[in-house]
Each structure stands twice: as C-alpha cells, then as structure tokens.
Amino acid sequence: MSNTTSDDSLITTEVQADSNDDRAASAAETAVAARDLNVYYGDERAIDDVTMEIPEKRVTALIGPSGCGKSTFLRCINRMNDMIEICRVDGDVEFGGKNVYDTDVDPVALRRKIGMVFQKPNPFPKSIRDNVAYGLKIQGFDGDVDKRVEESLKGAALWDEVKDQLDSSGLELSGGQQQRLCIARAIAPDPEVILMDEPTSALDPVAASKIEDLIDDLAEQYTVIIVTHNMQQAARISDRTAVFLTGGELVEYDDTAKIFEDPEEQRVEDYITGKFG
C-alpha cells in the first residue's frame, strides 16, 4: 500500500464517501455492545478483553492483520462460535437489550434477527427464488413470499439482472451476483443487523465496488458490521472503524475519519500506513 501522506490523511483514498458524512456526524443508539469479551480456542486466546459499542444503522468496519480475531469477534455476535466445539466465550454481547450469551437465549432465534454474509459466496444449490425465500421458509413466514423476494433482490441491487430467471439455479450467477444473492438472502427475513466477513475479498474489483455501493445503501435500514482486509474499503464505506491487532486486542475504535487521519495509537498508524502487519 502506498503511504504517501502529502495531505493529513494517512492513506490516499478520500475518507468518508460523501453519502455517509451526515450519518457519522449524528449520534446513534447502540445496536450491539461487547463487554469484557474474551474468546478462547482451547487454551489459545483469540479475543482479548474487548469492550465496544456498535451504533445502530451505521457501517462499522473491523480491520486488522489476519489472525487477529476479527472473524471470531463477528461470530460472537450471532453465536456462530457455538458450532465450534473447542470455542469458549467469556463476557457479554448485548443485543436488543439482552446478553446473547444468557442461558435463556436461543441461538437459533437470535440468528433470525441477525443476517450474515460470508467471505466466499455460498448460495444454496437451489433456484434464485428459493435462495432468497429460504429464511422466510424456515421461519414459517405467513405473508406474500414473492413480494418479499422481489423487495429483497431489489434491496441487494440484483433484481434487474435476475428478474427473468428467478427459477434458474443460484449457482449459475457470476461470483459478484452470487454474493449479492447472499445479501438478498440475508435481508429477506428483515433482520436488524447484518454481519459481513470480508464479503468482497473473493471478488474482482468491479463486483467488489458494486457491493460497496450496496453496503452504503443497506446502512439506511440495517446495522452493518463488516470485516475487511482492505483499508481503502474500510475508509470508503464505514462510519466507525475498529482496529484489532494480533492477539485479539482492540487497539483503537473511533470514527473512521479520525482513525485514518489522526489515530491516537502509534501501532494503529503503523498498521494503516503499512509499516506493520
């Protein structure tokens, strides 16, 4: 990464695309909060005492070198870590006024309120329609399924490309379209939060930029938490940025503009300018 610091921004990309300036400025309610969160894989600690509040209807980016626990943190929010047998979580993750790790929380019910998009597009080997309607089907949705499918595909900026082939397989789409299909699938049951784990790292730049535009739109309605490897991307699309460094430590968490222009921590500046990690 180039570290020309001719202006006061640490990286060359224009920080804060114009559309989300206003969002960052105004204060927002907290959607998800982690308190004293520690995560272990066996004896290995992957998240080290993290406390952070993630605002509602904003894009929050998690950046950091690989292996620093970004995905692990993301999976704590919808309890996908429960599937990993050796994983143990300590501390609280609050969502909707409740600690999701309380014993009376059903993780399956929790995941119905939190959508997730993975690094590699993983549409089901079903028709496009069935892919989008999947969440509705398993939740016993009682309304107009076709209408919801259309809205969700429009929401994922995919409708115009697939409206004539809703019955063909989701696997016939290109990689970028598949990822947008996965986004449509995630938003169809109308969740409150959408988690994205490096959603563009398996895509070409054009497909990636479409997803970036889309994420910007999604933040109108949903709280978006996105893990990314790509610092320009974080700078472009997010309102808040959290920097994790090796060992699962949350080093700095602030408005994106602040992180990229004037970070408090030297380690963060080194990481962002490419001197480290």
Binding site: M80, M83, R112, N122, F124, P125, Y134, K137, R185
Partner: protein
C-alpha cells in the same frame, strides 16, 4: 557421478518401464474379466432363447425387419455422414471378418459348441454396433424423442407390473381406507398450503395424515362392505396418477392439454381394466400398467408436439412394433424354422414344474420383487437416518464423540461380515425371537436389509460428508435449526450420492442366496406369496435349485432363462433408479 550417465550431454532419460508394465497388466486384466463375463452372457442368452436352434433364415428375417430399421432410425437421427460410413463399414467388414475367422477356427482348431458364425456375428459385431448407434442416435433430436418415448412406455409397464405385484401382498382394503382417510387429505392439505402459501395448512398435513392412517387401521375390520378391487385401484392409484399428470401439464401448457393427458389414458385404462376382468385376466394389474404407461407417455407426447422438434422420433415404438409383427408374419407365412425359447410368456407367468418345458418362475419373481421393494424402503430409511445422525448430530469430541467413533469402526466391520452370518442372525432374531416366522417374506426382507445396511450407511455418510460446510454454515446463520439445515440443504445435496449407494447395495441384495437358505426360505414354492407372512421363494433360490436337477434341459435351458430374467429385472430396477436419481440431480 553425473558423468557416469550414458547421456551426459542431454537431460538423460527417465525409465518408465514399471509404469508401462503396470498399465498393460491392468488393461489386460480388466479386458480378460469383461471378455469372460461377455462370453458367459452370450452362452446364457443362447440357451435361454434357444438361439442354437435358430435357422439362418429366421435370424435374417428379424435382422431385416427389426434391426435394420432400428439402425436406419439411429443413423437418420445422428445425421452424420461419417458415422453412417463407419457404421456400414463395421457391419459389412465385421461380417466378412467374423465369418472368415469363425470358419478358420472351426476347421483348424476345434469346432465351437452351440455357436455358428451368424450368431457370432450378431453378438460380436451386431450387438455392439447397435448399442453404439443407439447411443449416437440418442444424441440427435429425433433419437432423443424416440428413446424418451420408448423409455416411458417400457418404464411405465415395468413400474405398473411392480406395483401390481406389491398389491398381491398388501391388503387392498386397508390401503383403500388408508388412502381415503389419510393420504388423500394430507396431500390435499399440503397442496393447498403450498399454493396459498399458508404454512399452517402444510404443517397440519402430517398429523391429519397420521390420524387418517390410524383410523384406517382401526376401521379395517369394522367396515363390512368395500368396493371391488378394480374400483379401489381406480380410486386410489389411477385417478391420482392421472390427476398428478394433468396438474403437471396444466402448469405448463394449459387446461385442454391437461384434460387430454389425464383423461385419455384414464379412460383407456378403465376400459382395459373392465375388459380384462371380463376376460379373466388380472384386472387391477392391467389397469395399473395402462395408467402408469399412459399418463407419462401422453404427457411426453404433448410436450414433444408442443416443442415441435424431433416429431419423427415419436414413430420409434411403432417402427419396432411393426418390425416384430412383420417378422412374425414372414416366419409364419414361409414356415421358417423358428427357435423355441425357454424364456417365454409361460416361463414368466407359470409355476415351477417337474417337466422342464412347463417350468415357470412366476412365484419366485413375485417373491423377489416384494422382498426387494421392502429392502429398498427399509435400508434407505434406516441408512439415511443413521448416517444423518452420525454425520450431523453427534459431536466430534467428548464421550459421545468417542462412542460415535466406536460405532463408526463397527459399522465398517459389519460390512465385511459374511452373508451366512447375517442369515443366522435373521433366523435367530427375526424368525425365532420376534416370531416373524421361518422362511417368510418379512423375515427375508429384514435380514437382507440388515445385510446391506452397513454399505448403505457408509455410502450415505460419504455423500453427506461431501456436502460443503459453507452451505451448512450459510443455513445455520439464517437461523435454521439443525433439522432444517439437514432437511433443506444437506439431504437434497447428498441425495444423488445416497441413492447411488443404495442402488449398488440393492443389486447385491437381490442376488443373495446364502442368507435366504439360512432363514429357511423355500427352494421352490408353487404359488405366489399373498401376504408378507407367507412362504416364498426368490429367483436366485429357484435358479440354484434347478441347477441341481438331473435333466440337462433344466441345467441349461431353464437355468439360463432364470438367469436372464434375474439380470433383466436387476438392470431394469437399477436403470429406473438411476434415471430417477439423475432427474433429482438435474431438478435441484
């Protein structure tokens, strides 16, 4: 050291001798195996159809009326000059080559028993060339339509006969009540729920169906008057099949087409059923065969006519039928000496007998079909259930994980246990302990299911394991329960693999004799089983018994006819299963 090499200035040479030796040895071994099997099958077929006594004129007649038109059809469909030239070259050149080689061997080495050069030509050149051309021809539009139609006709007859056979042992009255009270309301509710998108109707379907089934069992002996068997089959099988076909067609091509596709075969089948009843034939079977053949055929024809491509292909069944009739007429008119095949209608519908010419396989065929149907259902259900449990539900670590691994190793070991041992287990457990009876069809079905269960489980596990984890995580993250993920994502993806394993295992079960002997199955029965608890015999048992008879006619002719029947049923069963699997694969 490098200078020691002979080729010091180049790159040198790397020896490939071992690889080449290995390659040719394996090639030779597999060719030897296939040729040996091929020769055996040729002799069995010659015996079963009495081809050794077929005169050259008889062979020529059918070659001209049946084979030549079929080849012409394939060539027309392939529409490729190169293929035509090669085919004619192979057929003509093969004729000269086989005749010359055959005569040479006969005069120089030794006479070849029960084979003449015409037959040798048929098997060595004619059959492979026909198969190859059929394959090439099916690639063309016309050929695809022709074979599609033929497949539906043959498949419909086979399935109709199989279903008819199953109804020999299942109580039609109970089925009538179960269908009317349980199956019909449940399916109706489910369909309405699907159409109106009301999941509540869909979830109600299962309990309603179950309640209906229980009511049917309770009411079976309370109700005293029932409609006749023919009406029962008409109501419970023919009408639903026609309705399903009509609905499928209505979705794609409008109501008139649907009415024709559903109504015409239903009317023909009903008429056929009543006529058969009048003529003393098994009316329900006639009805089932007609409706199960008619509806898919009509739907297919309507689809082809709509698409308007390869219409000429619809003539293929007519072409073949006309060929058979023309051949028979010519043979009759000119008094051409014809062979007297062992494998004929009376062999398939008759009971075993002490005289070879009267001997029939019917009771054993029915026994085998019933057992295989039960084994298929049991081993599929148990196999899928167990493998889903082992793969999706058990943890990998902890005490339960250890237990699972122990189970896993034991299942693998069970696959290697000899079938006689399973026979002993079946005798002890099912026949004696559970009191299902010695030599009964249920005992046999349960024993054979147990025998192939390890194979089905292992192959189903393999298929389930090959479903990418990405898909499971995707479904879990949507808030699906373990069961929903399994049912909606894992099983549909794994199903083709699961079916492949089950099909292979069933092929093994249908030919087993040792466990059947152990559980006391009869070597010969003279009446087809009429309940699950009647004594039965199976095809391999009957064939084995015949092979021990002193008369040569039994040992050659009748046994050969039995073997061919067994093989045809096996191939038909596997073929149907594979076709259905491929459809499922394409559908998903």
């Amino acid at each position: 050291m490098a200078t020691d090499n002979a080729n010091a200035d180049g790159f040198g040479e790397v020896s490939r001798v071992r690889g080449i030796v290995f390659e040719y040895l394996s090639f030779g071994a597999s060719v030897f195996g296939l040729v040996a099997l091929g020769v055996l099958l040729v002799y069995v077929a010659i015996d079963a159809f009495d081809l050794a006594n077929a005169s050259p004129e008889w062979l020529l007649t059918y070659f001209l009326t049946l084979v030549v038109p079929f080849l012409a059809f394939c060539l027309y469909s392939a529409n490729d000059r190169g293929v035509t030239r090669r085919a004619l070259g192979a057929l003509g050149g093969g004729l000269v080559a086989v005749a010359a080689l055959f005569t040479a061997v006969e005069t120089l080495v030794s006479p070849i028993p029960r084979l003449n050069w015409q037959l040798a030509y048929l098997f060595v050149v004619g059959a492979p060339a026909t198969a190859y051309l059929a394959y090439v021809g099916s690639g063309g539009r016309v050929g695809a339509v022709g074979f599609g139609l033929l497949g539906r006709l043959v498949g419909g007859v086979a399935i109709g006969l199989a279903v008819g056979t199953l109804f020999l042992v299942f109580d039609p009255l109970l089925w009538f009540l179960a269908y009317t009270l349980g199956v019909l309301p449940a399916v109706g509710l489910y369909a309405v729920g699907r159409r109106r998108s009301t999941p509540r109707a869909q979830t109600a379907a299962a309990p309603v169906g179950l309640a209906g089934l229980i009511a049917a069992v309770v009411l079976r002996d309370v109700v005293s008057t029932y409609p006749s068997d023919l009406i029962i089959y008409l109501w419970t099988v023919a009408v639903p099949v026609a309705a399903a076909g009509g609905l499928l067609v209505a979705g794609r091509r409008g109501r008139t087409a649907a009415a024709v596709v559903a109504g015409l075969p239903l009317a023909v089948a009903t008429a056929g059923g009543f006529l058969a009843a009048g003529a003393g034939l098994p009316a329900p079977t006639v009805l089932l065969v007609l409706v199960l053949t008619g509806v898919p055929t009509a739907a297919y024809v309507s689809r082809v006519v709509d698409a308007g491509e390869g219409l000429a292909g619809l003539g293929l069944p007519l072409l073949l039928g006309a060929g058979v009739i023309a051949g028979a007429l010519i043979v009759e008119a000119w008094g051409v000496p014809a062979p007297d095949p062992w494998l004929d209608g009376s062999f398939l519908t008759g009971a075993p007998s002490r005289t070879p010419t009267d001997a029939g396989l019917y009771p054993a065929i029915v026994g085998s079909v019933i057992i295989i149907a039960l084994v298929a259902v049991l081993s599929f259900a148990l196999g899928v259930g167990t493998s889903v449990f082992l793969e999706e539900y058990t943890p990998e670590s902890g005490p339960l994980g250890t237990l699972t691994r122990i189970l896993q190793v034991n299942i693998a070991n069970l696959a290697a246990v000899p079938s006689v041992v399973y026979g002993l287990l079946g005798l002890g457990l099912f026949a004696n302990l559970l009191g299902l009876g010695i030599g009964t069809a249920v005992t046999a079905a349960l024993t054979l299911s147990l025998l192939i269960l390890p194979i089905t489980i292992i192959s189903a596990q393999e298929a389930i394991r090959s479903v990418p984890d990405d898909l499971r995580r995707g479904s879990d993250a949507m808030g699906a329960t373990r069961w929903q993920t399994t049912k909606n994502v894992v099983l549909p993806e794994a199903m083709p693999g699961v079916l492949t394993g089950t099909i292979l295992a069933l092929g093994r079960a249908i030919g087993e004799t040792a466990p059947l002997i152990m559980i006391g199955a009869a070597t010969t029965v003279f009446r087809a089983p009429d309940s699950l608890f009647s004594r039965f015999s199976a095809m391999p048992m009957q064939i084995y018994t015949w092979a021990g008879f002193p008369q040569a006619d039994f040992r050659y002719g009748v046994v050969a006819a039995g073997v061919i029947t067994l093989l045809i049923i096996l191939v038909g069963m596997n073929g149907t299963a594979i076709l259905l699997r491929n459809r499922a694969e394409r559908g998903s």
